[in-house]
């Protein structure tokens, strides 16, 4: 199968959907003339022209709200944030306007819109450019939140997100755009809300999503060297969460570690941990352990970053803890 970059997979999804449906358009900072701050939208202006690919002024609140209105009046906007760190400026439009419109209007107005861009840390960018917002948005009913970890998943899920009639938050990572993966030629869609078992195993379940999946898979490799077979689940979507796949795995392995880059309080991992203890209590041979960022703003300092973010070492320690191994 052909191998393409994560950014190319996202671009292909947008290109295909824009060719398929003239109501789809892309809008965001630097998406057109500059060809994308991270070159995700490279070539799109050339193909679709300025009436389908809009460079915006630096006005996140304004263009996010504009997207909501366009969605309510017949279009299917893709709103790109250069990073979700900047979506905070636009969060009123995402939460109050897009997510609540259908409910508040008694079912009269849906908002088909995709807000997409990178989330989380991306090297030494300082605290303002390093937050994870997956759990923030997942906390809001009315939104769907997709956080893929491979080019294949990204393409199929983004296409499904663009066709969805409700607002979708689609989160990527600057650190993943260069990642390569197998993506078949031709069209396919992946369902929102379905997890994927990226590695089969029987001894312990490791659940993760997005960029942190790399840590989970690398840890599983290491564990395999010691004869421990970890089952690695990629949530792919954090709202809705595919609890069933997680529970089924935990009932088999009886042990679980959740790896997530976000800060620990009210995180996706805490939510998962609650569900697992609530619904698989009798199957657990050890308390579920979470591996999150430290509960501090991410520093610029390289050694501090290393000490703050989840990593393979901490994940291995957590696995050994739930397996009562030294």
């Amino acid at each position: 199968m052909r191998v393409i970059q994560f950014r190319e997979a996202i671009r292909e999804a947008m290109n295909e959907e824009m060719r398929r449906d003239e109501n789809v358009f892309l809008m965001g900072e630097e998406v057109a003339e500059y060809n994308g701050a991270y070159k995700v939208s490279q070539g799109m202006l050339d193909e679709f022209g300025p009436n389908r690919v809009y460079d915006t002024p630096i006005a996140e609140l304004g263009f996010a709200g504009l997207g909501v209105g366009a969605g309510m009046n017949g279009l299917r906007p893709i709103i790109e944030f250069m990073t979700f760190n900047f979506s905070l400026v636009a969060i009123d439009q995402i939460i109050n306007s897009s997510a609540k419109m259908l409910a508040m209007s008694g079912g009269q107005y849906s908002v088909p819109i995709v807000f997409r861009g990178p989330t989380g840390s991306a090297g030494q960018l300082g605290a303002t450019h390093s937050s994870n917002f997956e759990n923030w948005f997942a906390n809001t009913p009315g939104l769907k939140v997709v956080v893929p970890s491979t080019p294949y998943d990204a393409k199929g899920l983004l296409k499904a997100s663009i066709r969805d009639n409700d607002p979708v938050i689609f989160m990527e990572s600057e650190m993943m755009y260069n990642d390569k993966g197998e993506v078949p030629e031709g069209e396919y869609l992946l369902p929102i809300g379905v997890a994927d078992i990226k590695r089969k195993g029987k001894d312990v379940t490791i659940i993760s999503f997005g960029k942190a999946m790399k840590i989970a898979l690398e840890a599983a490799e290491e564990l395999a060297k010691d004869g421990i077979e970890a089952e690695v689940i990629d949530l792919r979507t954090v709202r809705p969460i595919d609890y069933a796949t997680c529970l089924e795995s935990v009932k088999k392995t009886n042990r679980c570690v959740v790896v997530e880059e976000a800060n620990p309080l009210a995180a996706i991992s805490s939510e998962l941990t609650y569900h697992i203890q609530r619904n698989a209590f009798d199957y657990l041979d050890a308390p579920v352990i979470r591996v999150n960022s430290m509960d501090i703003p991410l520093s610029f300092s390289a050694p501090y970053i290393e000490a703050t973010l989840p990593n393979v070492k901490r994940t291995l320690e957590a696995v050994k803890q739930v397996m009562y191994k030294k």
Binding site: G62, G65, A70, N73, S105, G106
Partner: protein, 329 residues
Amino acid sequence: MSSSSKKSKTLDPEKGQHLFYQMLLIRRFEDKSAEQYTKGKIRGFLHLYVGEEAVAVGVIQALTEEDNILSTYREHGHALARGMEPGGIMAEMYGKQEGCSRGRGGSMHLFDASRRFFGGNAIVCSHLPMAVGMALASKKQKKNQITCCFFGEGAAAEGEFHEAMNLAALWEVPVLFVCENNQYAMGTAIQYSHAVLEIEKKGAAYGIESTAVNGMDLMAVMDATDKAVDKIRKTGKPYFLVCNTYRFRSHSMFDAELYRDKKEVEEWKKADPIPAFQDYLLKQKLITKTELEKISARVDKEVQEAIDFAEAGTWEPLEDLTKFVYSEK
């Protein structure tokens, strides 16, 4: 302040009487709403439009059924002027499923897709960029459709106002921004919140054609809006209309109005748009005293019917609690 004498066109009796009916309906509907609120029938926040009727009625008469309207949390007047059913609005404020938003929105979130009424937007200024997006959609889909967006002068202090203005001008979209400057952002007088009191000047910064009009004068509002709408349809570009007006009642039902002088309120009440328009209609012989009485009786009857409709309304069943969080397939 400009006056009725500046009007550029004449009214036929039928239209004149209809506009008078609409203003009176809004006035009495709002007065009755206040009454129902004190009885505990309407709960939550309630912001009344009394005093500002000439703006909603004067602006909306210039729009077609294809046009879109977005409003604020003080939107009963716009909803009624748009022709939404008084019963549906009252039932919404009662929280009944017969309400225009199924009782899920309340006073601040009135919606009616059949009349292209897009709220009831209760976060100040949030609907301005939405209006620009709706207008962009009309333009892209080559529809002959204007989007009309009402907001208060309080919203003009938001950064979002400036972002929306810039985007509307940048992408030349057919949007009519209507600022209802009622002099107070809740309890904060305009001189305490704006460095430049002539709100229309803010449109000029974005190259948007802007006009201010006496919002207490129905004919002046109509005239200004007719011209604005005509301009938008011809050019496809945004237009900014500031209607200087005043609310006679408090900001909301919780407001003791300690921030403004009673004399000031009394002074503005002399400019009440309803008796002024009534006098105009009588003078121009566009209405008779008998016809006035008929309209008054019709309004009273319709307001009472709205109450009866809301009273007879039912709660949405609990089984439907989780509906409309996501679209149905």
